[in-house]
Amino acid sequence: MKMLRAFWLRLAGTVQGGSRDSFAEELEGHLQMHTEDNVRKGMTATEARREALMKLGGIEQTKELYHDRQTLPVLEVFMQDLRYGLRMLQKNPGFTAVAVLSLALGIGANTTIFTVVNAILLNALPVRDLPRLVEMDTVDSKTLVTQARSEKLGMSFPNFQDYRRDNQVFTDLAAFVPIAVTWSGGAEPRQLQGELVSATYFEVLGIRPARGRFFMPDEDTKPNGNDVAVLSYALWANKLGSDPGIIGKPLILDARPYTVIGVAPRGFRGTITFFSSEQVWIPISMKDQVLGGKAKDFFNERRALTLGGTFGRLKPGLEMSAAEASLKTMATHLEAEFPKDNSGRSVALSPLADAAVGVNDHKRIALAGTMMMGVVGLVLLIACVNLANLLLAQGARRQKEISLRAALGAGRTRIVRQMLTESMLLSLAGGAVGLALAYAGRSILWSFRPPFIEDSGINLALDSHVLLFTLIVAILTGFIFGLVPAVKASRPDLMETLNAGGRGGTIGWQRDPLRSLLVIGEMALALITLVGAGLFLHSMQNAQKTELGFESKNLLTMNFDLGALHYEEGRGQQFYRAAIEKVKNSPGVASVSIASNPPIGGGFARTVFPEGRDEASGNRGTLTVVDDVTPDYFETLRIPVSRGRSFNDGDRKETAAVAIASEAMVKLHWPNEDALGKRFHFIGDMTLREIVGVVANSVVNEVGEEPQPILFLPMTQDYVPAATLHVRTTGKPEAVVATTRAALQSLDPNLAITNVFTIEQILSQALWAPRMGGILLALFGGLALLLSAVGVYGVLSYSVNQQTREIGLRMALGAQRGDVMRLILGQGLRLTVVGLSLGILVALGLMRVLVSLLFDVRAYDPSTYTAVTLLLTAVALLACYIPARRAMRIDPMVALRYD
């Protein structure tokens, strides 16, 4: 308390500058009293005063001691440095503006990217003790998977129940299955995102409801009987007007009333980053009411991998690796117990925090984030090098001032501190402006976001993490670019500089290794940045160029779910026929088809065994996406049928089971054979289906993928109640949206129609992230180029200026202009070549490490390296040429007198 009081008084004293008058008076009184006493003892007046002063220990020293106690000396020196620094920056407004602007660009770029990384990768789930939560996935060594990044798969419900009952490693285990349900009761039926969850879900996460309660431990056991629901805070606030009496009210989901029992805490939207913030959670025992089609049929199959996810809380003190080992042992028991279903299957754990962006995608997304941060970090480093160089030049100009201060007794640390205060001021100002730039950049980035992110709970906020990050980056930046010039400035050769009258002297820059090093470093950094940006840009372009395999113009799609209205198969098939008939006959429509899979959206995958290579003989099945389609599908999508036939109305439930395979499917299973007439069956379904046609490859999961094997089945032989209507239009697809919607709803007014998109909209959504990444990389690459060009130009023109006298002398002694030009260009190019070579070496090493973790990018893409090297050489040449030309024009007489 007392220390604090004293501290405040001293702080106040510092701000006021410390009042010296009152103490001077007190001291004078002291001396007079002492002098008088001395006189009384018999000293002369002079002697008495002298003795009093000696005893005191000097007036000025005492005042100084007193002042130090009155104020906070450390702070006072800092304030002096600050005032002085501000004055210096004010005196050089041009320098200050350039410095702050380049720092702002560098820091702004870092903050912008960090904002995205923060929102997507560092956005910790709002749950208790997140590091102890792990996701458990199935790894299946027996089933072949052709899709990229699907090494970890979901878990079947029976297996989940066994793990939950018998594991030794979790305090408890929870399961969730993402679902879409139709919510009626509002003006128009609306689809909601949600999850079927085990009753343990909220318990394992360790969160408390904002209102009401969460599920009771046994509230997921009564099949079709636990009709209760928990709402997310956003759903409650946005769609239900924050109704305070919501608890106990019914909510009609898929035509069945559920009682609302609780509202989840604000900000919680499940365990998946990209999910909408509007969610509804329903006990898993309600699965038959909510799931449709295949998911429902296979739910209780041990073989099925349909369950969305399983996560648990590790027991205290248990490491994830130890838990995983224990679970793998359990997996071998389950394998022995159910050899037919579980053979080849084990489990793998991953931190739930990582799995939040998709357990198979985390590595890729984290790497992309790291790459982006690396690129903007390099841009900032280039800006730092520029500034260090500017400060060095300034330090040379200020040498006289600094020498004077040193001569007057300022210590080295004091001078370094002074210079660092100045660079810190610059970097903090740069950080502040950078934050403003990042705010604007974020808004621009955000305004281009596609609808699917608009719906998601991702929030690109400039939160405390971002602010702290910016502050730390700004401070580090100030140190990085300020330290070398400060140290250099602090040890000028005192006598020499003062004698030379503060002139830069004739120090040639060959003799200035520090500055040469900066040019080399700058060139190397620029090359690494540009090569990195170039390689990634290249690969993104490649990804976008990939053939879709179907005609994307004039195609409209929309989703609906008959399962939500509890249609049984007969009624569903009838609805499909009626819908196709009705839509086909409306104006502007060329052809119509219904398929189980939305375009570029993947689909339900099943394990396929070709005839003669089934599981009984120990063969591996292949997990293959299956699309159930109505006859006009290939015609509507314009996917060419290369062999055999398309489906037709003759393919009915009672006729022979048929299928159509993609060329990739044929290549995988029957290379060098005629696929027509070949037969196969799915796991758990021994029906032999015959391939009657082969179609060209088309995109299944994502643009840029390897051609995926896919099987098409007639909808009549493999009914699914949730489907996508594909409409090929003759004109603009937007024109038929209203009539199509009306046609479907005239068949059933309770039908919720969702995701009404043209393929071009879907494509722009799918390509938003790579396109944005490409634009940003191009922007940052340009920034790096600009900054390094400015920097190289700055160094070279400065050194040419420094050499003015030398050049004048040479020309006076008979050197030709060409010689001077050669001299200067030669100096610049030598450094450029060294810098670029160094950059290429580092880039090759660096890119090899990074690229090995990514796809379809080659680390040694010669065209990128050549283009970047040429570009930077041109920039360096220009940066040398301009000062060289200036040097050439120097009049020797003027130059010799130049100062």
Binding site: K2, L9, G29, H30, L65
Partner: protein
């Protein structure tokens, strides 16, 4: 080095407070003379160090000051003990006695065993 100064400052503070307790309100010169008389040569060379110490005690609220007239009609700043200062002094005195007692016990047998 710094420790020594701290000890010196702590001791000086205690002496100042004790002086003010014994003599009542007093100016800096008077305190200096009194300490010199009592402590011998301790403060002989440097009256100046007294003033930062007085300021520190005042900042901490142990003493208060006001301007007044000295015996020979000079304007002087008088320091006096505050209530908090009195309490602080009591505590410090006790601590100090304890410390010296313990140290004495350490130093005395130290000679024997050495």
């Amino acid at each position: 080095m710094a420790d020594k100064v701290d000890v010196w400052q702590g001791t000086l503070a205690l002496m100042i407070l004790k002086t003010l307790e014994a003599l009542g309100p007093l100016h800096g010169y008077g305190i200096a003379r009194r300490i010199e008389q009592t402590s011998g040569d301790l403060l002989a060379v440097n009256y100046g160090t007294l003033y930062p110490a007085l300021l520190k005690l005042e900042q901490e609220g142990h003493i208060a000051s006001e301007w007044g007239q000295s015996d020979n009609n000079r304007k002087a700043k008088y320091y006096k003990l505050t209530r908090a200062g009195r309490k602080f002094l009591d505590r410090e005195e006790r601590d100090w006695e304890q410390t010296t007692a313990i140290l004495a016990r350490f130093l005395a047998p130290g000679k024997e065993s050495a």
